[in-house]
């Protein structure tokens, strides 16, 4: 296992980076903010049909690329650096749950369409405070093919745009089963939330007697695997975005002059940037380890992904605030990009389990 990127990964990073620069620069995020669209459908089509990103972690037998977690982390790092709005994370997590379950019919039906970018799927989970769904008609230990779901979950990634939702729900016996819910199902309401991060579309998903098809397999194991992958994915996006902050702010400190010197000459500025560089290097090393573990050392993946997430979530959020601060007044304007990263950093830190929850989970894994 080596941490440094392979030639194939460098090539993938390069092509995604070029794509972001050409097709989804930060100016296009500003267009989305103005239009209210959750993401650019043309960009999503190219990310999936042309670059194959939705199928990176889906095996070839289900129409994916089967490139693995490290390839995904490389692509997400570049997309995160450019704050590219897309339902990729939602689809990747939903696909992971399907892959972990043993419901072959659902896999055959859904995975090829997710891989091809034709179907937007999402996993209706949030942090532990984000609400629960209960299932009626299920339970008594007997396997049932369907149930009626009631409850509410928020915030759910791309909940409004999803064609299908995977909804974990507790039966009367306390057992959690994952249900497949169609976007047009009766009693399903999706409300787009005001997302602090302009690049993320989030929804409250409410179910009132909504029919769901029970998926067979170990729901707890599948959700745990999705939580690990979410940690890797959010760490990767944060690493890319943090690097963008570091580069942007270093560049500014080299050219902005005050008191007759470029401001980077002053230790008050220089030392903050040095700390940002240090935190990025440490987070990046942890990210590389988690990505490799995902592909090569599955028994280490959960802890490694938690480590990467814990480090990068905090480091990026801090770096984004420092980016605003070190740019001074201009960094606090709407026109400057610093606030886009600041908001993304706030959101990435807490989505699908914030720092406290991550540390509690890590402590459990480490036998503390």
């Amino acid at each position: 296992m080596t941490l440094i990127l392979t030639d194939e990964e460098l090539a993938l990073a390069d092509s995604v980076r070029k794509f972001v620069a050409d097709r989804s620069p930060l100016t296009s995020l500003r267009q989305l903010i103005a239009s209210g669209e959750p993401y650019d459908a043309g960009v999503w089509k190219q990310l999936t049909a042309q670059l194959g990103l939705a199928g990176l972690t889906i095996p070839e037998s289900y129409g994916g690329v089967g490139a693995g977690y490290s390839a995904l982390s490389v692509a997400l790092t570049e997309l995160g650096g450019g704050l590219v709005a897309s339902p990729l994370l939602a689809c990747v997590l939903a696909a992971e749950v399907l892959l972990q379950l043993d419901d072959d019919a659902a896999k055959d039906e859904l995975l090829p369409r997710i891989a091809g970018g034709e179907l937007i799927a999402t996993l209706a989970v949030a942090s532990s405070a984000g609400g629960r769904v209960t299932a009626a008609g299920a339970g008594d230990g007997s396997v049932v093919s369907g149930a009626v779901l009631t409850g509410s979950v928020s915030p759910v990634l791309n909940g409004t745009e999803a064609d299908v939702l995977l909804v974990p729900a507790d039966g009367s016996d306390g057992r959690t089963v994952i249900y497949l819910v169609d976007g047009g199902a009766d009693g399903l309401s999706r409300t787009r939330l005001t997302a602090v991060d302009h690049s993320r579309s989030l929804a409250r998903v409410a179910l009132a007697g909504t029919p769901g098809r029970a998926l067979t397999g170990d729901a707890a194991a599948a959700l745990s695997a999705a939580a690990d992958l979410a940690n890797l994915a959010l760490a990767a996006e944060s690493a890319g975005a943090m690097k963008a902050c570091l580069d942007m702010t270093s560049a500014y400190a080299r050219i902005r002059v005050a008191f007759g010197q470029p401001i980077g000459a002053f230790q008050a500025v220089k030392h903050r940037l040095a700390d940002m560089e240090k935190s990025w290097e440490l987070g990046n090393a942890a990210l590389r380890d988690a990505a490799r573990a995902g592909d090569e050392k599955p028994d280490r993946f959960s802890v490694a992904a938690s480590v990467a997430r814990v480090l990068l979530a905090g480091a990026y959020a801090d770096a984004a605030v420092d980016t605003v601060q070190l740019h001074g007044g201009i960094g606090f304007t709407w026109e400057h990009d610093a606030h886009l990263y600041y908001k993304n950093g706030l959101s990435n830190k807490v989505l699908l389990g914030g720092p406290g929850e991550q540390l509690d989970r890590l402590a459990d894994s480490l036998g503390i």
Binding site: K270, K278, A286, I368
Partner: protein, 404 residues
């Protein structure tokens, strides 16, 4: 080939290397006597060298193994769980040793490197002075040419291991008419030469890991110059780079009282693991410690792939110091009021490590100096406007040249 090396290293370590309980060299030296500890370390280093595990990347003609950084990485991985009794050689091998490999003459390498590796001769590094710490280029120790020799006069401080060293690498001013960085040279000095006086310095822990060293008309031969005359700063930069990488990538062995495993066990023993705050702190310590290890590994892989770490060694040094400080704070939280008063030896060892933790952020270049290096050489930020960089040293009236 690498698999062979790994298997050989693993087998040798299992058969020869002790897995010792926690303890530091100074504390051990005080309880068992310096001579006994040193004799054990010299014997072990000789065995290590004979078995082919010392100087792994050094050329074979100078006693090294002539292998690549792949084998060095393997050795670091395999030896991590052992506490190798080689502390007396750490500085010599990683700093003056690596610098001689890079800059030494063929004669110097033949004379000194093999005996460094076999443990016959111990080395120290003599840079800092009472008036020249972070600003080491303002040093006042002088070397004046006298025929075929140089005559050294001055005082050095914070010299680890000087009390048992045979040789030292010393920085001295050889031309005070040049600006401060341009009139310095580096020499090999015999620590047993007449005029060398070593006195221990007692630090905050109560131990004496450092010394102050006085040079009073100490004569060194002309061929003791490392690198070129008045290019000592360049040699110092090479050595400091090796120092940062060595310190930053030293890793923390599992027997370190402030390592995650030690503190988790301590917390469990004190019944502190029910406290959510302590649990979270320990989990965070694990994450940060792991990242420091992984970054060191990443740097080594990059080196192996032909991308030299350069100033990013300072990131490793800074990160290691920060980690030590965090671990010290967390250890104090784990101990709670037990740190204020204790009678168990185990708690004494942890407390000593907590007291020692801030030292890591000073030794080998302070964290502030590391941040300057990272800012200037990694991020390309402007240098601090120094008033003393271009003036001939003997015309300066600031710093160590200030007139009273």
């Amino acid at each position: 080939m690498s698999d062979d090396f790994r298997a050989r290293a693993r087998a040798w370590l299992a058969a020869n290397a002790p897995r010792r309980a926690a303890g530091d060299d100074e504390a051990e030296a005080e309880s068992r006597g310096q001579a006994a500890v040193l004799a054990e370390q010299k014997a072990f280093q000789a065995k290590l060298h004979a078995a082919g595990f010392a100087g792994i990347t050094w050329p074979a003609e100078y006693g090294g193994q002539g292998l690549g950084s792949a084998e060095q990485i393997i050795w670091s991985q395999e030896s991590r769980d052992y506490d190798l009794p080689t502390g007396a050689f750490f500085i010599g091998l990683s700093m003056p040793g690596n610098t001689l490999v890079e800059l030494g003459t063929d004669a110097q390498k033949r004379r000194y490197l093999p005996k460094m590796l076999s443990g016959e001769e111990i080395w120290c590094q003599l840079f800092s002075e009472p008036g020249a710490g972070s600003d080491v280029a303002s040093l006042q120790t002088s070397a004046v040419r006298d025929g075929d020799e140089w005559v050294l006069n001055g005082q050095k401080v914070w010299t680890s291991g000087a009390q048992f060293s045979d040789f030292g690498a010393i920085l001295a001013r050889t031309d005070p008419t040049k600006p401060k960085h341009n009139g310095i040279s580096m020499f090999i000095v015999d620590m047993h030469a007449p005029g060398v006086t070593v006195r221990p310095l007692k630090v905050a822990t109560g131990h004496s890991p450092f010394n102050e060293v006085f040079f009073d008309n100490v004569r060194v031969p002309a061929d003791a110059l490392i690198g070129e005359e008045n290019k000592g700063w360049d040699a110092a930069v090479v050595m400091l780079r090796h120092e940062r990488i060595a310190i930053g990538t030293m890793g923390s062995s599992r027997t370190n009282p402030l390592a995650f495993d030690s503190l988790r066990d301590l917390a469990a023993g004190l019944g502190r693991t029910d406290d959510q705050g302590v649990r979270r702190e320990l989990a965070e310590l694990y994450a940060r410690g792991r990242a420091v290890q992984l970054f060191a590994l990443l740097l080594r892989e990059e080196t192996q792939a032909g991308r030299l770490p350069g100033a990013r060694g300072s990131v490793a040094k800074l990160a290691g110091s920060d980690l030590g400080r965090l671990a010290g704070n967390i250890a104090a939280d784990v101990l709670g009021d037990q740190i204020a008063g204790f009678d168990a030896a185990e708690l004494a060892a942890v407390t000593t490590s907590i007291i020692a933790a801030p030292g890591n952020a000073i030794a080998g270049g302070t964290s502030e100096i590391q941040r300057n290096i990272i800012g200037e050489r990694v991020l390309g930020l402007a240098k601090d406007p120094g008033v003393d960089r271009s003036t001939p040293f003997n015309q300066l009236r600031v710093g160590t040249q200030r007139q009273q």
